[in-house]
């Protein structure tokens, strides 16, 4: 068969397709997907809202502790020091900055919504850029979030609990610090795994790009 004959054979399936589609089930699948998508969006929205509420509460807690300690300042507690103010402000700022990081991440995710209408090459390049962002900017954002929420904020709270009880941070039992360190390590391990996955996916896309260029 020459190529024109092959094309004629190929086109013959337009008259008698190899498959057919069950319209009722298709409609069901589309509704199912739409419901899943809506649920994901609702959950995402609630996570951002709840995180926002948590941030406000955390800031309020830090500042209340600072004011409370200021009132309690006595011989037992010692005078309010620059460290007390610094820890109160650092804790509140960490909570606020964490909210900013989550908000920026959420916006970046929204921008990554899949869109069509461009060539296959554009789609691959866009995906590679997204994965690049996930392994660089995204990683930096997550690390910052880990440090802010996992270390600075709980340390500030621990500091105030200790000061209110007339102790110093060094008097606090090892357990809360061990928990902070464990959370940080777990977060770092999860981040490392997600970066590794992104890198391996990026390699596969780069291979596809090479294939596209006929290399």
């Amino acid at each position: 068969m020459n190529f024109d004959e092959l094309m004629a054979v190929w086109k013959s399936q337009d008259a008698a397709p190899l498959h057919d589609v069950n319209q009722t089930l298709l409609h069901q699948a589309l509704r199912q997907d739409e419901a899943r998508l809506q649920k994901e969006r609702r959950t995402e929205k609630w996570v951002v809202y709840l995180f926002g509420a948590g941030v406000v509460a955390a800031m309020a807690l830090c500042l209340t502790q600072l004011i409370h300690f200021h009132r309690l300042a006595s011989e037992r507690h010692g005078a309010v020091t620059g460290w007390d103010y610094a820890m109160g402000i650092a804790g509140a700022a960490a909570a606020l900055l964490a909210w900013g990081v989550v908000y920026v991440g959420h916006r970046a995710q929204a921008r990554r919504e899949q869109c069509f209408g461009e060539s296959l090459r554009d789609q691959i390049n866009r995906r590679i850029t997204q994965l690049d962002d996930a392994t660089t900017g995204g990683r930096r954002r997550t690390l910052l979030l880990l440090v802010l929420v996992g270390a600075i904020f709980p340390t500030a709270i621990l500091y105030f609990f200790a000061r209110i009880n007339g102790k110093t941070l060094s008097d606090v039992s090892f357990l809360p610090f061990a928990m902070i360190i464990w959370c940080l390590l777990l977060g770092a391990w999860t981040l490392r795994r997600s970066v590794q996955r992104a890198i391996s996916r990026k390699r596969r896309l780069e291979e596809l790009l090479k294939e596209l260029d006929g290399q």
């Binding site: 190529f3 013959s12 399936q13 209408g117 090459r121 896309l205």
Partner: protein, 169 residues
């Protein structure tokens, strides 16, 4: 866009050009379950893409573009087949396939040859066989026309060679 309007447009597209989706599914997935999964994924992406369609290209070109992008992404999903996991809850029986006796063996033979091509070349072969011009193929795949020409020559000689071998044997 309102959901009913989207449903109406999608219904028209599907009624007129579902053959495109069948061809892409048949060229990229080889097992019954995989075909169900890929078909569902493609139809969902086409359905979602209705909002983004601005009429800059024809509907068949648009559908091919979405279907091929989805199929290529589907074949590259990490460990998908090894893990036996699927991203969607697959609706069984969505896609029905003709029994082997009802199928034209020449069409089946063509699919077998296409399956042996690299992923990207498979896309070019489908578009070529469906009569898309070099310019249209270049725009869909994102290559220069000359590059598409090189690929097409390679695909044509591969198919013609196999056809000759088949005739000789």
């Amino acid at each position: 866009m309102h959901d009913t309007e989207r449903d109406r447009i999608f219904g028209e597209w599907l009624a007129g050009h579902k053959g495109i989706l069948f061809k892409v599914v048949h060229a990229y997935a080889f097992e019954h379950a995989d075909r169900q999964d890929l078909f569902q994924e493609i139809t969902i992406q086409v359905w979602r893409s209705v909002d983004a369609f601005r009429g800059d290209s024809s509907v068949p070109t648009w559908m091919y573009r979405v279907a091929l992008n989805t199929a290529l992404a589907w074949t590259r999903k990490e460990g998908r087949h090894q893990r036996g996991k699927q991203s969607l809850e697959v609706v069984e029986g969505l896609l029905t396939t003709l029994s082997s006796e009802e199928r034209d063996p020449r069409v089946e033979w063509l699919y077998q040859q296409i399956a042996q091509l690299k992923d990207v070349d498979r896309s070019v072969a489908l578009l070529l066989l469906d009569g898309f011009s070099y310019k249209e193929i270049a725009a869909i795949v994102g290559l220069t026309e000359s590059n598409v020409g090189v690929k097409i020559n390679r695909i044509k000689s591969a198919l013609a060679g196999k056809s000759l071998e088949e005739t000789a044997s």
